[in-house]
Amino acid sequence: MSFRPAIWLNILFLAALLVAAIGAPWLTPYAAEGAGTPNLPHKLLPPSWAHLLGTDEMGRDMLARILYGARTSLLLAGLVIGGSVTLGVAVGLAAGAAGGWLDEFAMRITDIFLAFPPLLFAILLVSVLGGGFASAVLALGLAWWPLYAVLVRGQVVRLTGLPFVEAARSIGASPARIARRHLLPNALGPLLVQATVDVGAVILVASGLSFIGLGPQPPAADWGLMINSGRQFVLSGSWWVAGFPSLAILLTALAFATLGDSLRGGRN
């Protein structure tokens, strides 16, 4: 792969975002506001040197809120991807390695999960669980794992026919050992690329969930929530209240998607 500046720009941006998210309490002079304390006398101030991105309807510094929102988004997406990759690998590996009726059964179940549009499925689950960070993680994880199960199972079936797996089996390696030592490591590459792209996708869907009030609850800082509570002020001129969180979601999703594409070495 030739050197492409776009990749490094993405990595740089995502690294900066991660540092900003972890270091948010120390990076901004408005840490308390970022965490949710209102400062009503300062409400809806336009961007200025004191408040680079302006203040929201509760007078909180928008930059601080966005940094704290990055913590929410990245943590949530990380937990969702981590959980669903784990579950997806377990199901896909078991189905692909076992074959036969177990494979058939597991894949039919996966098909059923895949039939639901992920956001609608998550909405259904969270409506029963009650809104909140933990519910959103659980619901999105349950909506997301089938993609990885299908991916891993496909890789396993492809690998099982190759000579080195045949060889391992003929020297008497147990199915569990073949799955762990030969199949899994070889299936990992495409899986990690897909998981990278999906961090952005999960952030997008999760922001939708919190936009309709089913994600983290106020006063938590969350980009989707910020857009929803700020949207009524946009038409009266305070565009920054919803504009900057939208930009944060857009740039983050964009960075993960293009990074994933570059890793895949693919076109576009």
Partner: protein, 341 residues
């Protein structure tokens, strides 16, 4: 021609998925570590209020009985009653569904009508300015949250330029001065049928922004997929032969490349339909569009479970239906698939 056994096999797997979706939606909502009745009654509800909600949802009965009631209800098209308004959810769906269909069909139609020709143009002129520009725009469109796009278009076309209305399906003056007689529930169709052109023009103006926002994501995907499929098809060996024979580039493109490029696009267009459905939920909320998405969002706010379940099921089954139709269409067009090879 489609072979009957292919059709039956595909129909069978689709029905299996439908049965699975219905079953899963039931059990997954009952097996989650929570007390739904408590959630819907709200934090400050008294125990006896929770019990009323519990019995109204039938949650106080044994699980198998609940499941049978749920199935027999669905078989009769009965989604139960709203916990808040006590109205029948099926009747509500009947009222709100046409508005959503109008929005999704227009939005998705727009995505196909623009996405496929633009994708072909980009693919036929690989690496041109047009190709790069549409490529970049498509990547941005797929990373933008639908609700942010909706707010942005409202800000530009209503607030700044004042070209288009902010929300709703009709201006208040129009719906009072030139009311549309409901025949099908599709506003534009009904207005046209009754010759109410004042309302028709106003309805179109109201539809432009929401339909465009619904279209954005599917359009971006369809455009890039069409472009990639055409580039792939143009790189095939048989294209080199056709070119060597001296066929004009028009024939090359339309007769030799296009038929091979269109199949993967068709499959993917079916998949993007799911995005059009979920996107319409946000669009309906922000544009105050009286469809099932807004109906569901209102139900979420008032913690009203039956409408949420109903909209999820109806949308998912619509998605399964669209996938089924796309598969049949693909099979009808692709000799390899219809012969089961």
């Amino acid at each position: 021609m489609l072979r009957l056994d292919f059709l039956l096999r595909r129909l069978f797997t689709s029905l299996l998925v439908v049965a699975g979706v219905i079953t899963l939606a039931f059990f997954v909502t009952r097996m989650l570590p929570s007390d739904p009745a408590r959630t819907f009654a709200g934090m400050r509800a008294r125990p006896e209020q929770v019990e009323i909600i519990r019995s109204r949802l039938g949650l106080d009965r044994p699980l198998p009985e609940q499941f049978l009631r749920y199935l027999s209800g669905l078989a009769q098209g009965d989604f139960g009653n709203s916990l808040v308004t006590k109205r029948s959810v099926s009747e509500d769906l009947g009222i709100f569904l046409p508005a959503t269909l109008e929005l999704i069909l227009c939005g998705f139609g727009l995505a196909l009508l623009i996405g496929i020709p633009a994708g072909l143009l980009a693919g036929a002129s690989e690496q041109s300015a047009f190709d790069r520009l549409t490529g970049a725009a498509a990547v941005v469109a797929t990373a933008a949250p639908v609700f942010a796009l909706a707010l942005l278009t409202q800000q530009i076309f209503f607030n700044q330029l004042q070209w288009l209305p902010l929300n709703g399906r009709l201006d208040a003056e129009i719906s009072i001065g030139h009311p549309v007689t409901a025949i099908s529930g599709f506003l534009l169709l009904d207005a046209a049928l009754t010759g109410n052109w004042v309302a028709w023009r106003n309805g179109v103006a109201h539809l432009i922004l929401p339909a465009t926002v619904v279209a954005a994501y599917p359009l971006a995907i369809i455009l890039r997929m069409t472009r990639n499929a055409l580039v792939d098809a143009l790189g095939q060996p048989h294209m080199a032969v056709a070119r060597a024979k001296g066929l004009p580039s028009r024939t090359l493109l339309l007769r030799h490349a296009l038929p091979n490029a269109i199949l993967p696009v068709l499959t993917l267009a079916g998949l993007t339909f799911a995005y059009a459905i979920t996107g319409s939920v946000f669009v309906e909320v922000l544009f105050r569009w009286p469809g099932i998405g807004k109906y569901m969002a209102d139900a979420i706010v008032s913690k009203d479970f039956p409408p949420i379940l109903a909209v999820t099921l109806v949308s998912t089954l619509a998605f399964v239906g669209v996938t089924f139709c796309v598969d049949l269409l693909t099979a009808a067009l692709d000799p390899r698939v219809r012969q089961g090879r």
